[in-house]
C-alpha cells in the first residue's frame, strides 16, 4: 500500500494512569515516513514522546493505537533489522569492547566461526576509531569511546535501519563534534537509513536530510517536517558559511522557542493536518541572492533570546 521504506501511521500513546482519571495521550495522530537511505532527525521538547516513538519503531514499546510498517511489514517486537544506539550506551560492563560487539554479531550470524566474528567486529571497531582498544573493558573507556562502541555494535549487525536515541546527549561538545563527523562519514559511506532523536539543533542540521518537529506534549503532534536542502556532504567547520544554515537554524529555534506550544491539543490551528504535516524548506526561502556570503550582523540569530527562554 505504501512505497515508503518506513511508514508511521496514526501512532498514539497513552500511558496507564495511577488514578481513575484517564491520562491524556503523550502523542497522537503521528504520521510520517522515512525513505531508504534517508537520515531523519526528530526534535521536540522533553515530554513530547520522541523516545516513545523511537521505542515503538524499535519494537521495545507498544503504541496505544496506530502502527509502524517497515519494508511493507508491520513492526511487532524488536528485531535484528533495526539496530538501536542507546542514550546511555548500554554496554555490558563484564564484556570487553570486542565482546560487546561480538555478542551482537553472534546474535545476527550464529553460524559464523570465531575468527569470522572477530574479523567482522574488528572491522567495525576500526571504523569508529577503536581498533586498538578492542580488549579493554567499557569501564576503561571515556564516555565518547563508549558511545563509539555502541555505534559500532549497532552498525556491525548491518540492520536495515538504525535508531539513535540522543546518542551524544551525555558527551562534551568537543567529543560530540568529533563523533558527529565520524557518524556522518560512516553514513555517507554505507547509505544507512537512520532515525535519530536529538536536542541539538546544529547536530540535526549537520546530519539530517529531514527534521521532524514535534509540538509539546501532551497531545503532541508532528508540527512540521523541515527539509534540509543543503548539500549532503556538509562539513562541520564550514557549515556556518552557508546562508541556508542560518535560515534553517532560525526556523528550528523559532519553532522550539515560540511555536511548539501552539500546536498542542485542541488549540491546534484548523489549517494543520496531522496526516500531512507541512513540509517546509526554510533553507531556500527568499534565496534570491544565492551568492555565498559570510553571515552579517543581522543574519545571525540573536542567541540571547534562546538562552532567555
Amino acid at each position: 500500500m505504501s512505497t515508503h521504506f518506513l511508514y508511521i501511521e496514526a501512532l498514539k500513546k497513552v500511558y496507564p494512569s495511577s488514578n481513575n482519571t484517564p491520562n491524556s495521550p503523550v502523542f497522537e495522530d503521528i504520521h510520517f515516513h522515512i525513505e531508504k537511505g534517508e537520515f531523519v532527525c526528530i526534535i521536540g521538547h522533553s515530554g513530547c514522546g520522541k523516545t516513545t516513538i523511537l521505542n515503538v519503531v524499535a519494537g521495545l514499546e507498544e503504541a496505544s493505537a496506530g502502527y509502524v510498517l517497515m519494508d511493507g511489514r508491520e513492526i511487532k517486537g524488536p528485531s535484528l533489522d533495526r539496530g538501536v544506539v542507546f542514550q546511555s550506551h548500554a554496554l555490558m560492563p563484564w564484556m570487553s569492547v570486542l565482546g560487546n560487539v561480538a555478542f551482537a554479531v553472534r546474535s545476527k550470524w550464529p553460524a559464523w566461526t570465531k575468527s569470522q566474528v572477530v574479523a567482522h567486529c574488528t572491522q567495525y571497531l576500526e571504523m569508529v576509531g577503536l581498533g586498538d582498544a578492542v580488549l579493554k573493558k567499557p569501564a576503561e573507556l571515556s564516555g565518547g569511546m563508549k558511545q563509539r562502541v555502541g555505534i559500532a555494535r549497532a552498525f556491525a549487525i548491518q540492520p536495515k535501519m538504525l535508531l539513535l536515541d540522543e546518542p551524544f546527549g551525555a558527551l562534551d561538545a568537543l567529543t560530540r563534534g568529533t563523533i558527529q563527523d565520524e557518524l556522518r562519514k560512516i553514513v555517507q559511506a554505507t547509505h544507512q537509513t537512520i532515525f535519530m532523536i536529538t536536542h541539538d539543533v546544529d547536530e540535526a542540521i549537520l546530519l539530517a536530510d529531514k527534521i521532524v518537529l514535534m509540538s509539546n506534549g501532551p497531545h503532541a503532534k508532528i508540527a512540521e517536517i523541515v527539509e534540509v536542502t543543503m548539500a549532503r556532504n556538509r562539513i562541520r567547520a564550514e557549515i556556518h558559511h552557508d546562508p541556508q544554515y542560518y535560515r534553517i537554524r532560525n526556523h528550528l529555534v523559532d519553532f522550539l522557542v515560540n511555536r511548539s506550544k501552539s500546536y498542542a491539543g485542541a488549540e491546534s490551528g484548523a489549517a494543520h493536518d496531522p496526516k500531512n504535516p507541512p513540509v517546509v524548506r526554510p533553507g531556500l526561502e527568499g534565496d534570491n541572492n544565492p551568492v555565498l556570503q559570510p553571515p552579517t550582523e543581522n543574519s545571525v540569530p540573536p542567541l540571547k533570546q534562546v538562552v532567555n527562554q
Binding site: 524499535a58 519494537g59 521495545l60 517486537g77 524488536p78 528485531s79 535484528l80 533495526r82 539496530g83 538501536v84 542507546f86 546511555s88 548500554a90 555490558m92 560492563p93 563484564w94 564484556m95 555478542f103 551482537a104 546474535s107 545476527k108 573493558k137 567499557p138 569501564a139 549487525i157
Partner: protein, 280 residues
C-alpha cells in the same frame, strides 16, 4: 605508604594478640595453695593431682599443648569418640558442602524464575517471609522424623538455612538487571537461554555471590550447633564431646579451628565475589 600501613596494622594486631595471651596467662596463674582443711588434703590425695588441674580455667600454655597435640597428627582415627581434628572438620565441611550445593541447585534457578516474574515474586513472598526467620535447628525434629538419619538431617538443616539468602539475593539481582541491557538483548533477538547465561547471570552475579557468601557464613554457624545436637562426627560434636570430657583446652582449640575455617570459607567467597564483580 599503603605497604607501611599494612605492616603497622600487622604489628598492632600482633601486639594485641600478645597482650590478650599475657592477660589470660596472668589471670590463670596457679593460685598460692590456700589453707586447706585436713579433709580436703585427704580428698586431694585420693583424687590424685588431676583434680586440681581440671577445676580451673586452662592457662594458655595448656591450650597451646592441645594445639600442638591435635595439629601434629590431624588424621588419626581411634574409633568413634577419638578422631583427628582434620577428620572432624572434614565431616563438618562435607555436610556444609552438600547442603550448600543442594541449596544452590534450588535457590539459583528458583531465584531466576522469581526475579523474572513479578507475579511469582508476589505469590511466593509470603512463604519466603514466613520460612526465612525460622531457626534452622527448629527443623531438626521434623528432619529427623522424616529423613530418619542424623547425618542427612544435618545436611538438610544446612540446606534450609543456606537457601533463603541465596534465593532472595538471586531474585533481587535478576529483577534489578538494568533495563538497558535487557533491551539490548531484545533488539538483538537473543534467545532466552543465551540471554539468561550471557546477560542476566553475569549482571546479577555480584548480588548472587553476596547471597552465597551470607549463606555460607550462616551454614558454618549452624553446622556446629546441628552437630552438637545430632552427634556422631564433626567439629560441633567434637566440641560437645570435649565438654563432656571436661577438657576445656580441647574446647578452646576447637573453637579456634571453627573460627579459622569460617574465615577461610568467607575469604574464598570474597575471592569469588571479586572475580564476578564488574566495574561500570
Amino acid at each position: 605508604m599503603k605497604r607501611s600501613e599494612t605492616i603497622k596494622a600487622a604489628l598492632i594486631s600482633l601486639l594485641l594478640f600478645c597482650l590478650a595471651i599475657g592477660a589470660w596467662h596472668l589471670a590463670t596463674l596457679p593460685k598460692e595453695s590456700l589453707a586447706i582443711s585436713g579433709a580436703d588434703v585427704e580428698y586431694a590425695a585420693l583424687m590424685g593431682a588431676g583434680a586440681q588441674k581440671a577445676s580451673g580455667f586452662p592457662p594458655p600454655a595448656e591450650v597451646g599443648k592441645a594445639f600442638i597435640r591435635y595439629l601434629s597428627d590431624p588424621f588419626y582415627d581411634n574409633g568413634p569418640n577419638d578422631k583427628g581434628i582434620a577428620i572432624q572438620l572434614g565431616h563438618s565441611l562435607l555436610r556444609v558442602g552438600l547442603g550448600f550445593i543442594l541449596a544452590i541447585l534450588v535457590a539459583i534457578p528458583l531465584g531466576f524464575v522469581i526475579g523474572m516474574s513479578p507475579l511469582l515474586m508476589k505469590a511466593l513472598d509470603p512463604f519466603i517471609q514466613v520460612l526465612k526467620p525460622i531457626s534452622p535447628l527448629a527443623w531438626m525434629p521434623l528432619a529427623l522424623y522424616t529423613l530418619k538419619d542424623s547425618n542427612v538431617s544435618g545436611i538438610f538443616v544446612i540446606f534450609i538455612c543456606s537457601v533463603w539468602p541465596m534465593l532472595i539475593n538471586t531474585a533481587f539481582g535478576v529483577a534489578s538487571v538494568r533495563r538497558d541491557w535487557l533491551n539490548v538483548a531484545r533488539t538483538l533477538e537473543v534467545s532466552p537461554l543465551r540471554k539468561a547465561f550471557l546477560v542476566i547471570l553475569p549482571a546479577a552475579a555480584p548480588t548472587i555471590l553476596t547471597g552465597m557468601r551470607i549463606s555460607m557464613g550462616i551454614a558454618w554457624l549452624v553446622i556446629v550447633a546441628a552437630e552438637m545436637l545430632v552427634g556422631g562426627t564433626g567439629i560441633g560434636y567434637f566440641v560437645w564431646n570435649e565438654w563432656n570430657n571436661l577438657a576445656l583446652p580441647n574446647v578452646i582449640f576447637a573453637i579456634t579451628m571453627i573460627g579459622v575455617v569460617g574465615m577461610g570459607l568467607d575469604a574464598l567467597f570474597g575471592r569469588l565475589q571479586k572475580l564476578v564483580t564488574y566495574r561500570e
